[in-house]
């Protein structure tokens, strides 16, 4: 059995798509567990899961503890050889801890999987995206996180499957959720069709305020490079890159971003990258479809003017 786990509907098709291909190659079936989201569980049968579980209750109240316990129980119950999780800030913690609790192997931020001699062969980035590596796991089960926007999604062609409900396991209370600070009504980077992202070239002050305005005009979201986050110009949840959000918009505007490989590792899923930078040698141009060598502030101001008054 291959167990796919999701927290919401958005990640359901790609997680089940990867699970189905792995299950085909290993001659197995796919089970899905939704951690708290009833909608995702309701859709899972149509997207190819043959068994569907829904864990109900206050999963997040204990940090990752209850979630890891719930997943470990399920992996044992369905005898899963592999667990697939969407790669994000939550599963960065859950995957290694779950694998360790099961005596298995975690493989993080994978971008591909093949099966060779009956064993999954995983592809993932290394050295901040400058290299790729293939790895196999010495111990099963494998707990793999899937980089978002890379795996082909499953199609909704299956039949509904009845949902098996499970309660949130108790924990020892060593970790307790006190508060959540949602980012102020900012569009989610993972879902945005257009992202305007600022880097070191944007600078302090007006720069990011203008990006907000531009993003508003384009119906998109504002992103930032690690350099801009480290400088304090943008909040941590805006960071795009290997250690931030991995995004797959239609258009990614890289404004004053030089294109460190760890940043490029986060934008490989974009249909088009538009790079604007004063440095014609900046590595961002190698990753872009459209490049303009000019000051990014001038570009942003001019774009705002033109979008405000369409031709």
């Amino acid at each position: 059995m291959i167990l796919a786990a999701v927290w919401d509907r958005r990640t359901l098709p790609e997680t089940l798509g990867a699970a189905a291909r792995l299950a085909d190659a290993l001659d197995g079936a796919v089970a899905l567990v939704s951690l708290g989201d009833a909608d995702a569980a309701a859709d899972a049968g149509r997207y190819g899961a043959s068994r569907v579980f829904l864990v109900e209750g206050e999963l997040a109240a204990s940090g990752a503890e209850s979630t890891i316990a719930a997943l470990a129980d399920l992996v044992r119950d369905v005898s899963a050889r592999a667990v697939l999780l969407p790669g994000d800030d939550r599963t960065a913690e859950i995957a290694p801890r779950l694998a360790e609790r099961l005596g298995g192997t975690a493989v993080t931020q994978t971008i591909g999987v093949d099966v060779a001699a009956g064993r999954p062969l995983w592809t993932r980035a290394a050295y901040g995206g400058k290299a790729l590596a293939t790895v196999t796991a010495a111990a099963e089960p494998v707990v793999a996180t899937l980089r978002r926007g890379v795996f082909a999604p499953a199609e909704p062609t299956g039949d509904d499957v009845s949902i098996e409900r499970r309660a949130t396991p108790e924990t020892d209370g060593a970790v307790e959720l006190l508060a959540r600070e949602a980012p102020p009504a900012a569009a989610s980077l993972e879902d945005a069709k257009v992202i305007v992202s600022g880097g070191a070239g944007i600078g302090a002050g007006e720069g990011f305020r203008q990006l907000e305005e531009l993003a508003g005009l384009l119906g998109g979201a504002v992103g930032a490079s690690l350099a801009a986050v480290d400088a304090g110009w943008a909040s941590t949840d805006r960071q795009v890159g290997l250690t931030g959000k991995v995004v797959s918009p239609d258009v990614y505007f890289a404004l004053g971003i030089s294109g460190a490989s760890q940043h490029l590792a986060g934008i490989g899923g974009a249909k088009a990258v538009v790079a604007v930078n004063t440095d014609a040698e900046a590595p961002i141009f190698a990753a872009a479809q459209l490049g303009v060598v000019m000051d990014c502030h001038t570009f942003v101001r001019s774009m705002i003017e033109q979008l405000r008054s369409p031709p």
Partner: protein, 270 residues
């Protein structure tokens, strides 16, 4: 409280992709293409530990570095920033690409250090980018753990931590002894330290432990192995950039918008 910061030196992560090369036989970055430095998340972890010491939450900060013989620059830096102790676990003969082996080594070292209330690890080392060691250490020590933390304060007999989560920022309370992994934040830029402290650091002792001294037999380390590296290579960059003249800003923007509309990636009807 005693805090231990887990450190590692990695290949300079700002080395541009054009200068990066892989030794496909050794299955790692080619030797000598860039200096080895304390990784960015290790620096943030160290800064968080030092901030907790400044705030009186932690009395002792111990820097624990796993790395090949002679790789002590990171530990000298930690001592110069007033870490109280520095321990070097020599990893010669250990597969640095396998997070489980690294965790095995660090757990043995942590146990030898005696009572430790807080372990801080970077969210991932910027070479293999596995992002596993801190979590594996937490599980093997049986300690509670919070990942991707960027701020911590005392909260009664617990720690209040701020961490990055998919929906924004979460505040959690965690009861020590505990393990935190640390992410990037503007508030965690590693301090500079004074010249005097740097000179004094050269005279401070660094404790060195070998794998043997930690009681780790080769069979036990081999049994800890989880990830087998099959192949490492540098991917070809396929995309070709269409350069648009930027001399006339308004014209450049018009061209970009028109090209994106042609590609049906952007619509200005709204």
């Amino acid at each position: 409280m005693r805090a231990v910061v887990l450190l590692k030196e990695i290949l300079d992560w700002e080395l541009p992709a054009s200068k990066f090369r892989v030794d496909e036989t050794a299955k790692q970055a080619a030797d000598g293409i860039a200096p080895m430095l304390l990784g960015p998340f290790e620096q943030h972890s160290l800064e968080l530990a030092l901030q907790l010491k400044d705030a009186g939450v932690v009395e002792n900060v111990t820097a624990l570095l796993a790395g090949p013989a002679g790789s002590v620059n990171g530990l000298r830096k930690a001592l110069a920033l007033r870490c109280d102790e520095a321990v070097h676990v020599v990893t010669d003969g250990v597969d640095g690409a396998d997070p489980s082996q690294t965790a095995e080594l660090l757990v043995a070292a942590l146990k030898r250090l005696g009572p430790v209330d807080l372990v801080l690890a970077g969210r991932q080392a910027g070479d293999w980018d596995h992002g596993q060691v801190g979590y594996l250490v937490a599980e093997r020590l049986g300690r509670p753990c919070v990942g991707l933390v960027f701020r911590a304060e005392r909260d009664g007999d617990r720690l209040r931590v701020w961490r990055v989560a998919p929906g924004g920022v979460e505040q959690l309370a965690v009861r020590p002894p505990a393990v935190l992994t640390v992410t990037s934040d503007a508030g965690l830029q590693l301090r500079m330290g004074s010249v005097m402290d740097r000179m004094a650091a050269n005279k401070k002792p660094i404790t060195t432990w070998t794998v043997d001294e930690l009681g780790l037999a080769p069979e036990r380390l081999a049994a800890a192995r989880r990830l087998e590296l099959e192949r490492v290579w540098v991917p070809e960059v396929e995309r070709r950039c269409e350069v648009i003249d930027g001399d006339d800003p308004a014209e450049a923007v018009r061209t970009v918008l028109a090209r994106l509309e042609e590609l049906k990636l952007l619509s200005r009807s709204a």
